[in-house]
């Protein structure tokens, strides 16, 4: 198995709501492998689902855990972590 996991702190001032949620879900979808996102100790959700991501109600400063399962999992997590740590509303 090549599943990798990483925990990231959310940088966007408005959390993972409108635009950042869209950018993140789009990137997860484009990753070409299953990616999940979980808030704190909550259940993992399909990261490519914008509705699922929005419904997590993630705010700035929250910690989320990403899991990617594929050959290039580490690179995918690099990209997604950077997206989450950036403040897109700045």
């Amino acid at each position: 198995m090549t599943a990798s996991t990483r925990t990231v702190r959310i940088g966007s001032a408005h959390g993972l709501h409108a635009r950042p949620a869209k950018l993140f879900a789009q990137a997860a979808k484009d990753a070409g492998m299953p990616v999940t996102i979980a808030k704190d100790a909550g259940a993992p959700t399909n990261a490519a689902s914008i509705l699922g991501v929005i419904a997590l109600g993630i705010d700035q400063g929250d910690y989320v855990t990403l899991t990617a399962d594929g050959d290039d999992a580490e690179r995918v997590l690099d990209t997604l972590s950077e997206l989450l740590a950036t403040d897109h509303d700045a």
Binding site: K22, A48, S49, I50, I54
Partner: protein, 563 residues
């Protein structure tokens, strides 16, 4: 073939362009078993979802900016993998694609709505996507505002506040509605934003997308498939009107030089600058409710004084008519009256509510007098007039004017909104320094039709000769006693009705500042004799619609416009 539909025009504008209809919301699909089978329903659902997502992306790319983000997010919602799972679950149970889409979206909608706030608002985005997919499955236009990709004449049943907020004013050439009267949301929006509009157009349901229309608000007419000559004439009038709008702003007056001061209705001191730039010669109605609404207790004298000072300082040397707190009916205030009333419009409201809580009234008068003194001390004073709302009797008039003068208010008057005070205007004006007619409430009480009730909206028309007769009573009393009679309310913003009101004896008109240019132009086209003649024609009619027609026929300018 050229065809003409009639309705109620808002303002004096004229515009032309292709129709785009606002489609009606779709009814929820039935939960009937599919007759097509799972494979075919799945293919239908996939195709519709994908088509809607591509369409939203294309619209986003065309719009750019913040709108692009919203539209792209909606496209992603349409193709969301979690949603697809939910849709597939329902399809595998033998449901139709329409029902599966409707129900799957509804389940996500509830999750979002329950989270409230920003996320709750996203539920509306999701609804919009669901309606688009279902419309696509049914082969009907998607509901909501159209987006034909070019400027258009919007044809709708009526516009809800949510629709008007989304209107792209650069794209909308004119508004035509089949329902709604002169006080509908559409009419209010049209007046505020100076959009050409004809409302309550019978036959508008049959107007088709893409057909060209001329929308003539001055004539209250919509010309379908106009001739080249019609189009040219409309363009000429639009140009002439644009020229008039940029004409120098002169004080309100009739063609023979009779002055009719044009004043602004304001709800906040912040609107002062815009009102002055549009030619307001003062304020004819300053509503003080904004200070009190959403407050659990009355604001302090200091808070009020500060707001009034800002207002008066913006109108030094000009008239400012302030209405004391008008609570009750459509704007209830818990600290004044929290009793449940069966008929709040007929209940403890306006001056009645203030009298029951006299300290609130006394504090307001104190703050007004202090603000007046403070502005006077720092330069030229404003000419402060103060009036009470919903005055029904001579005794109430005596009460209010005496109390106002006790606080040093120089000019104290009353609003005439109740037929009783219009009928006794000669006795009321023996005590009050002036009267101001609130035509919206006067119409509501004359016609016994709740302003807020859609089912009786057709009664709410200030052109009704019964309302005009009451205005005549007040006008005549004002002339006999030498007291000013102002008009504030939607009626003064109607350019032809404004002429009628002056013909009935009104000495000043107060309106939303955006209506000033049209009313100024209309007054300048009539002499006082013309105005009286037009008013007589309207008074002699049987109902509001024929009063409007008779006034138009009697007016020299409108006769010309109709030819």
């Amino acid at each position: 073939m050229t065809q003409q539909l009639r309705g109620v025009g808002i303002g004096l504008g004229i515009a032309q362009g292709p129709i785009a209809r606002m489609a009606e919301p779709l009814p929820a699909p039935d939960d009937a078993p599919s007759l097509l089978g799972v494979a075919e329903e799945t293919a239908r659902a996939r195709a519709a979802v994908s088509a809607v997502a591509r369409e939203l992306e294309e619209r986003g790319a065309a719009a750019g900016g913040a709108a692009q983000d919203v539209l792209e997010a909606q496209a992603m919602m349409a193709e969301d993998p979690s949603l697809e799972t939910e849709i597939d679950d329902r399809l595998s149970q033998g449901r139709t694609a329409e029902w599966a889409v409707h129900d799957a979206f509804a389940s996500f909608r509830e999750t979002l709505a329950a989270m409230g706030g920003y996320l709750g608002e996203r539920a509306a985005d999701l609804d919009d996507v669901a309606q688009r997919v279902i419309a696509r499955l049914r082969g009907v236009p998607a509901p909501g505002l159209p987006d034909p990709g070019h400027p258009y004449v919007l044809v709708a049943r009526d516009l809800a506040p949510a629709d008007t907020a989304l209107l792209d004013l650069d794209r909308v050439l004119a508004l035509v509605t089949s329902e709604g009267g002169p006080t509908s949301h559409t009419a209010i929006l049209a007046r505020e934003k100076s959009i050409v509009a004809v409302v309550g157009v019978s036959g508008a349901e049959a107007l088709l997308d893409g057909h060209t229309v001329v929308v003539d608000a001055a004539g209250g007419a919509v010309t379908v498939d106009p001739s080249a000559e019609d189009l040219e004439r409309a363009a000429r009038r639009a140009d002439a009107r644009a020229a008039a709008a940029s004409a120098p702003i002169t004080p309100g007056a009739l063609a023979d030089g009779t002055p009719v001061p044009l004043l602004a209705n304001l709800g906040k001191a912040e609107g002062a600058e815009e009102a002055v730039s549009l030619g307001a010669e003062g304020v004819g109605l300053f509503r003080t409710e904004f200070l009190f609404l959403s407050a659990a207790t009355a604001p302090t004298i200091g808070q009020q004084r500060e707001a009034y000072e800002r207002l008066l300082a913006a109108f030094r040397g000009k008239k400012v008519v302030v209405r004391v707190l008008d609570a009750g009916a459509d704007k209830p205030l818990a600290f004044l009256n929290d009793a449940h009333e069966e008929n709040p419009a007929l209940g403890l409201r306006g001056l009645r509510a203030l009298r029951a809580s006299e300290d609130v009234l006394r504090e307001q008068l104190t703050a007004l007098a202090e603000a007046d003194a403070a502005v006077r001390a720092s330069g030229e004073a404003a000419d402060l007039w103060v009036m009470a709302p919903m005055v029904a009797t001579v005794e109430e008039t005596v009460y209010f004017t005496a109390l106002a003068r006790e606080y040093g208010i120089r000019t104290a008057g009353v609003m005439v909104e109740v037929p009783a005070s219009a009928l006794l205007a000669d006795r009321i004006l023996a005590h009050a320094d002036f009267a101001s007619i609130g035509t919206n409430d006067l119409t509501q009480y004359t016609m016994a039709a709740d302003r807020l009730l859609g089912s009786v909206a057709s009664f709410q028309d200030p052109w009704h000769p019964a309302v005009l007769r009451l205005v005549r009573e007040v006008g005549a009393a004002g002339v006999a006693l030498g007291r000013p009679v102002g008009i504030c309310g939607e009626a003064a913003a109607d350019p032809l009705l404004a002429v009628v009101l002056v013909g009935l004896g009104a000495t000043s008109l107060s309106m939303a500042p955006t209506a000033l240019a049209d009313v100024r132009a209309s007054l300048l086209a009539h002499t006082l004799d013309d105005a009286r003649h037009v008013a007589e024609a309207a008074l002699a009619a049987d109902d509001a619609a024929s009063a409007r027609t008779a006034a138009r026929a009697a007016s020299p300018t409108h006769r010309e416009a109709d030819q």
